[in-house]
Symmetry: C2
Subunit: 407 residues, 2 copies
């Protein structure tokens, strides 16, 4: 019973309700993926937007990541051109030339200033981009731009994903409705510090570079940096936010309005983060790990992350086995302050270990672990640090998807 | 096609050829495991032996580990009493009392001085030891002691293992034949810094405490600390060596004879380490990872270990997919000095990436990756550091074994 069914798409074309003022999008099939699937997409702001980005911590960064890091540092961008099916990673100097050429052609076709387009790629590592297909697709992307194009875009950026991941949040700030639209992809190679994921946020609020970057960084901490499917860190992880100011609200750091915007962005990012985990490759259960009583919040995060990364914990979740010893063993190598005799562990509210000792509740715990959603609570009883982390179980399907990805 | 077949045992009883002067062993079924399997074992040296041990780095250490750490520090021991089926880990103060009581009863029955027996346990975490069964078994273990008992012992210490793991190496040192007998168990929770493994070495050479400990530490580095099945570190990992001096050769640090002994112990440990990986839970392939050209040997070890711990690399090996991008992505998060443009990768001698670029040898590489043994060579071209690491692929059977372990 995998969580993932056949590909579910958002409503397409005119029925698409994902709109934010001053942004348009489009998607086409360029022939990079097989079978005519959508594989290229374009986002355009009608006016130059403030931009901020967060990128993979992997030393091997894909060409589009290197290009975007440089361009996002400038603080302004007009749009993003995206392809799926090929990551343009480990492609050397040709990869850098291809990323630049893709941006340059989009800028030319759209009549934009040079250096204002960002680029994102996701898919197989190590193969050169099929530039002939990409070049042929760009004019078609430009002419298909539409304010209702984000549903198509949300499908075009997927790789092994089983469903599209979108969020639209709105809030009245200073009497004016502010919108944040988020679109993401990701299902494997999901690890904190960004994984094989792309996420794009578009908002009609007005922010300058530094507060926009700060808001994005904070939002990522409790969303994309608190999820794990496997332990791998991708070469392509990119989160971008564009703010075009079209709704007329200008947000300055330190104000109540800015804080409201930040919490709206937190919510959007958390919702997308959870969707990525629910789409985790082969997942049959969604696991929320709540660690409390750690010495610090950072230690709680580290403890939760270590549990989430344990193959043995994840296979036990698949088998609905309340094997709390595996959780304890993972905590013991997490590098956090802990003591066996003060460790409490529960699964969906059923306490299986108290003060480091088995409570004899195995049968009851096994029953509640059969649910699709399992809450694993760990209290270290060392301090007041806490953290939440989301992960999946480890299943036959995970192995199947990843052993047969290219073959 | 798993590497593991049905349980293979060494020749039992009188046909057992695993002998080393002055050591006897025995094994019985105490009823801890199901179906009357052997689950308790005893090793005894006829004279008090010099002892050295290495133990899990997990903060949560099982009761027998805590007991042995204290006793091995003393430098002398007469024997080891071992149970499988229950790890006596996360069992609190009762666990400590049970470990001490097990040792004490063995000492009494064998007429030994108090504090001279070591204890080892492996199996499920979090459940109390069935002390009634253990107490009843100890007199039977004592009366079954035999110089040909190590074959039975090698079976009694197993948990999820599919075959027994033994090694007997001999070498003439100073004109006298020195023997080292090694027995190990381990198949899952295998990670450097010791995993769910037990290994016991018995030698008839004479060494004092410090050089014995030093020889053991070096031997573990290129054996038990260079293998990985999964990322988990057990609470019970224990490697012990006992030297009883019965062959008459005394080995002093700094001598040629001592170096010969060390290299003999290295060989014994490496052979057991490889057996543990070949018995890796669910493994269908044995992977040797050779990293060269690292800035230092430590960085090479770290790089190899990171590759070995990647779910995505391990599933690709299962699928015989020469997806070198996953290897590169793992290297990129390994925290070692590297550069994309100087990275060379090959599978069983077929170069798939040279200077960080794909060589187009995918089809040929896929063919040679279908073998049971795959050599992954990575040259970072940064320096002269190198390391070898052994691991398994990640298969359906790994998930099956670990999701259904207790149910």
């Amino acid at each position: 019973m995998p969580l993932r069914g056949p590909l579910k798409s958002a409503a397409r074309g005119k029925r698409c309700s994902l709109k934010v003022a001053g942004f348009r999008a489009s998607a086409v099939s360029a022939g990079i993926k097989k079978k005519g699937a959508l594989d290229m997409a374009l986002i355009l702001s009608d006016v130059p937007a403030t931009v901020a980005g967060l990128f993979t911590t992997n030393v091997l960064k894909a060409a589009p990541v290197l290009l975007d890091m440089e361009r996002a540092a400038g603080g302004t961008a007009s749009g993003i051109i995206i392809n799926s099916g090929n990551a343009n990673a480990c492609t050397g100097s040709k990869g850098m030339r291809d990323a630049s050429a893709t941006a340059a052609l989009a800028e030319k076709v759209l009549g934009l200033k040079k250096g204002t387009m960002l680029v994102a790629s996701t898919g197989v590592i190590g193969l050169p981009l099929p530039m002939d297909k990409i070049k042929a697709a760009i004019p078609r992307l430009a002419s298909a731009l539409d304010e209702r194009g984000f549903c198509d875009l949300s499908e075009a950026i997927l790789t092994t994903d089983a469903f599209t991941k979108t969020v639209l949040v709105k809030k009245k700030i200073d009497g004016v409705m502010v919108s944040i639209l988020g679109v993401a992809k990701g299902a494997g190679m999901i690890n904190p510090d960004m994984a094989t994921m792309l996420a794009f946020f578009m908002t009609d609020a007005a922010l300058t570079k530094a507060p926009l970057r700060s808001a994005l960084k904070v939002a990522c901490r409790t969303s994309f940096n608190s999820i794990m499917v496997d332990n791998d860190t991708s070469t392509n992880d990119t989160v971008l936010i564009m703010a075009n100011g079209r709704c007329g609200v200008a947000l300055k750091r330190g104000t109540e309005q800015y804080r409201e915007f930040c919490s709206l962005l937190d919510e959007a990012a958390r919702r997308l983060g959870k969707m990525i985990v629910k789409d985790g490759e082969g997942a049959s259960r969604f696991i929320e790990i709540l660690v409390t009583g750690a010495a610090t919040d950072n230690e709680a995060h580290q403890a939760a992350r270590t549990i989430a990364g344990s193959y043995l914990v994840k296979t036990a979740f698949f088998g609905a086995d309340p094997n709390w010893g595996r959780v304890a063993a993972a905590l013991g190598r997490a590098g956090v302050k802990m003591s066996e005799s003060s460790l409490d562990i529960s699964f969906n509210g059923v306490v299986v270990a108290a003060g480091g000792l088995d409570t004899g509740a195995e049968r009851e715990a096994a029953r509640v672990m059969k649910r699709k959603n399992v809450l694993l609570q760990v209290d270290l009883n060392m301090g007041s640090g806490s953290a939440t982390f989301w992960t999946t179980d480890m299943t036959y399907d995970y192995v199947k998807i990843n052993s047969a990805y290219r073959t």
